[in-house]
C-alpha cells in the first residue's frame, strides 16, 4: 500500500519524540505526586459524588415520590440524564473504534481517555433507569433467568428489555476493548517500576505481556475485530435508546427519524465532552506535545459535522409535523417552540445549532479557551435536547384536563450533580493510576525510525 508523507502537514506528535521519550513523558505524569489542581478537582468531584449518594439513598428509602413527577409527566429528569450520559459515552467508541476503522491516526492521542470516559459515562447512565424502577434491589428482574414464578420470562418485544441488553453489552464490550488496549502499556509501566506492591499489581494486570510479535499479531486482529463489533454496537445502542421513545404513540416521540437523530446527537455531545476533558488534561498533565492543535481541530470539525446533522433533524421534525397534517403532532412542536418550556427549547437550539457555527473559523478552533466554553455550552444544549424531547412531549397530552407542569425537586438535581461527581471522580482517579495516552499506539505513529513516514 502506498503511503503518503506530506511535508506540509505538522507531525501528529509534536517535539520530534522517540519511543523512549513517549514512555518517559507519560510515565512521569503518572508517577509524580498529584498536583494541587488535581486535589482541588478531586475534592469537588468527590463532594458531588457524596451528595449524589445521599440523594439516591434518600430516594430509594423513601420512594420515587421524592421526584417532581406527576401522572402526566411520568418520565423527566432521570430519563433525560440517562440518555444524556449514554450519549456522552458514544464519542469514546467513535474515537476508539470507528476512527480506527477509518485509519485516522490522530485518534491515538485521545482514544485511551475517550474510552475511559465511555465506561464512566455508561456507569452514570446505568444508575438512572435502575433507580427509576423504584425497587432497584429487584433490578435483576430485567434479565431472563429461570425463576419460581412460572418461570415467567421478560417481554422480549419491549424496547426497555432491548435497552437493558444493549447497555450491558455495550458496557462489557467497551470495558474489554479498553482493557485490551491497556495491556501493552501496563507491561511498559511494570518494566519501569521498582519492585514493590505497585509493580506487583501491574505485573498481575499486564497478563505476562512480553512484546512477542506472535502475540502482537493476534492482538492486532483482535483489536480490529473488536473495533468492527463496537462500531455497529454503538450505533445500535443509541438506536435502541431512541426506540424507547419512538415505539410509543406519543406525538413528538413517534418518529422514524429518531435513531439517526439520536446517534448524531450522542456523538455530538460526546465529542464535546472529550474535548472538554482533553483541554483540561493537556494543560494539567503537560501533554501539549501529544494533544496538539491538530487534534483539537479535528474534533472541532467533527462537532461541526454532527451539529449540522442535529440541526437538520430539528428542522426535519418540524417539517414532518407540518406535513403530516396531524393536529396533535403539530401542536406538540408549536408547544415546544412557544409553550411554557420554550426557554428550554431555545436554549437547546441556541447551544446546539447556533453556537457551534463559530467553529467554522480557524481562529476560533485555535483558541482553546473559546473551544472549551463552546463545548460546555454544547453539552448544556444536548442535555436540554433530551429534556425537551421527554418533558414537552408529555406535559400537554391529548386531553387538556390532563395538562401539567414539571419542576425537578432538590433530590433530582442532587442526583444529576451526583452523576457528574461519579464521572469526574472516576476520571480523575483514572488519570492518576493508568496511562492517559496509549503509549503503544502513539509510538507506532511517531516519525522516528520509519522511512515510510506517517499517514494522517
Amino acid at each position: 500500500m502506498a503511503e503518503v508523507c506530506s511535508p506540509l502537514r505538522p507531525a501528529l506528535i509534536a517535539g520530534d519524540k522517540k519511543p523512549a521519550g513517549v514512555t518517559e513523558d507519560i510515565c512521569r505524569a503518572l508517577l509524580r505526586p498529584p498536583s494541587a489542581l488535581w486535589w482541588g478537582g478531586f475534592s469537588v468531584a468527590f463532594s458531588l459524588l457524596l451528595a449524589g449518594v445521599a440523594a439516591v439513598s434518600y430516594q430509594i428509602a423513601t420512594g420515587v415520590g421524592t421526584w417532581g413527577l406527576n401522572t402526566t409527566v411520568g418520565w423527566a429528569f432521570d430519563i433525560t440524564n440517562f440518555v444524556f450520559w449514554v450519549g456522552i459515552g458514544h464519542a469514546g467508541t467513535l474515537i476508539s473504534a470507528i476512527l480506527f476503522l477509518f485509519r485516522q491516526k490522530w485518534r491515538t492521542s485521545v482514544n485511551r481517555s475517550a474510552e475511559a470516559m465511555t465506561l464512566f459515562a455508561v456507569m452514570c447512565a446505568g444508575i438512572f433507569p435502575i433507580i427509576h424502577t423504584g425497587r432497584p434491589w429487584l433490578a435483576y428482574w430485567l434479565f431472563p433467568y429461570p425463576n419460581f414464578r412460572g418461570p415467567l420470562w421478560i417481554n422480549f418485544r419491549s424496547p426497555l428489555a432491548w435497552d437493558c441488553f444493549a447497555i450491558s453489552t455495550y458496557f462489557l464490550i467497551s470495558a474489554m476493548f479498553w482493557y485490551i488496549g491497556l495491556i501493552p502499556d501496563l507491561a511498559t509501566i511494570r518494566d519501569r517500576l521498582q519492585p514493590g506492591l505497585r509493580q506487583r499489581v501491574f505485573a498481575i494486570l499486564s497478563f505476562g505481556w512480553n512484546g512477542s510479535y506472535r502475540v502482537w499479531q493476534h492482538y492486532e486482529v483482535l483489536y480490529l475485530l473488536l473495533a468492527g463489533l463496537a462500531t455497529p454496537l454503538v450505533i445500535s445502542v443509541h438506536t435502541i435508546v431512541s426506540w424507547d421513545f419512538a415505539t410509543a404513540v406519543i406525538p413528538g416521540w413517534h418518529a422514524t427519524i429518531f435513531p439517526p437523530y439520536f446517534v448524531a446527537g450522542a456523538i455530538f455531545s460526546g465529542i464535546a465532552m472529550v474535548l472538554t476533558l482533553m483541554i483540561v488534561a493537556r494543560k494539567a498533565m503537560g501533554l501539549e506535545d501529544y494533544i496538539t492543535h491538530r487534534h483539537v481541530d479535528a474534533m472541532c470539525k467533527l462537532l461541526l459535522l454532527t451539529s449540522g446533522i442535529v440541526a437538520l433533524a430539528y428542522a426535519t421534525e418540524f417539517f414532518t409535523a407540518f406535513y403530516s397534517g396531524n393536529t396533535y403532532e403539530q401542536f406538540v412542536f408549536l408547544n415546544r417552540a412557544r409553550g411554557p418550556f420554550a426557554w428550554a427549547y431555545w436554549t437547546m437550539v441556541g447551544c446546539n445549532v447556533f453556537v457551534p457555527q463559530l467553529l467554522w473559523f480557524r481562529s476560533v478552533r485555535r483558541r482553546l479557551a473559546i473551544v472549551f466554553v463552546l463545548c460546555i455550552l454544547i453539552n448544556v444544549g444536548m442535555w436540554f435536547e433530551r429534556f425537551v424531547i421527554i418533558v414537552t412531549s408529555l406535559h400537554r397530552d391529548f386531553l387538556p384536563s390532563n395538562w401539567a407542569g414539571y419542576q425537578p425537586t432538590i433530590v433530582e438535581v442532587a442526583t444529576l450533580l451526583g452523576s457528574f461527581g461519579l464521572f469526574f471522580t472516576c476520571f480523575l482517579v483514572f488519570c492518576r493510576v493508568l496511562p492517559v495516552i496509549a503509549m503503544g499506539e502513539v509510538k507506532a505513529v511517531l516519525r522516528h525510525g520509519k522511512s515510510h513516514g506517517e499517514q494522517a
Binding site: A20, F165, A166, F207, G208, N210, S212, R214
Partner: protein, 176 residues
C-alpha cells in the same frame, strides 16, 4: 528442553523490518520478534500465517445469535406465552435488537478469551522478558541455532550488517 538462540537487538522499526525479512529469506529460523508496539508489516516479514481469530469471532457470533433467536422463540411462544397488546406469539422482528446485542456479546467475549488462550496470557502470569527495554523502545530478533551448519559468527555479522545494535547468544528454555 533447551535451545541455543542468537538475539539481535535493534533500535528502529525500519531496521527490525529489514533484518527480519532478510533473515527469513536467508532461511534462518525465526523464533520470535519482540517489539514495543505493533509494527506494521512485521507479520509478512516473519512469514507468519494469518490469525485464526476472525473464525472464532464469526462462528461464536453466529452461535450466539442462533441461540438467542431460539431462546426468545421458546420463552415467548412456547414455554409461557403472554399476550402483549395482541402481538403474535412469535414476534420475530421484535426479537432482532436483542439477537443483535447477544451476537455481539458472544462474538466479543469469545474472541477475547480465544486471544488470551492462543497467546497464553493470563492475570499474574510471569513475563519472560528478553530485555527490559523491549516494552519501552527497542526491538529484538530471536534466531534459533537449529543445526550444526549454523555459523554463529557469520549470522552475527549478518545481523550487524542489517543494523543490529547488539547481538547476544543465549541458552533458552523452550516454552511451547
Amino acid at each position: 528442553m533447551n535451545r541455543r538462540v542468537l538475539i539481535g537487538i535493534f533500535e528502529t522499526e525500519d531496521a527490525i523490518l529489514e533484518a527480519t525479512e532478510a533473515a527469513r529469506l536467508r532461511g534462518l529460523r525465526i523464533v520470535d520478534v519482540f517489539a514495543p508496539y505493533a509494527v506494521h508489516g512485521l507479520d509478512h516479514a516473519m512469514g507468519l500465517q494469518r490469525s485464526k481469530l476472525p473464525w472464532v469471532c464469526l462462528l461464536l457470533g453466529l452461535a450466539g445469535a442462533a441461540f438467542k433467536v431460539w431462546f426468545e422463540y421458546w420463552t415467548t411462544a412456547s414455554d409461557w406465552p403472554v399476550n402483549v397488546g395482541g402481538k403474535p406469539w412469535n414476534s420475530l422482528p421484535a426479537f432482532v435488537p436483542i439477537t443483535f446485542e447477544v451476537m455481539v456479546l458472544f462474538a466479543g467475549v469469545s474472541t477475547v478469551l480465544a486471544f488470551f488462550g492462543m497467546s497464553r496470557l493470563w492475570p499474574g502470569r510471569k513475563a519472560v522478558l528478553l530485555d527490559g527495554r523491549i516494552t519501552n523502545d527497542c526491538f529484538a530478533l530471536v534466531l534459533e541455532q537449529d543445526n550444526a551448519a549454523f555459523d554463529v559468527d557469520e549470522v552475527e555479522d549478518f545481523l550487524r550488517r542489517h543494523g543490529a545494535a547488539r547481538v547476544e547468544e543465549r541458552e533458552q528454555e523452550v516454552l511451547r
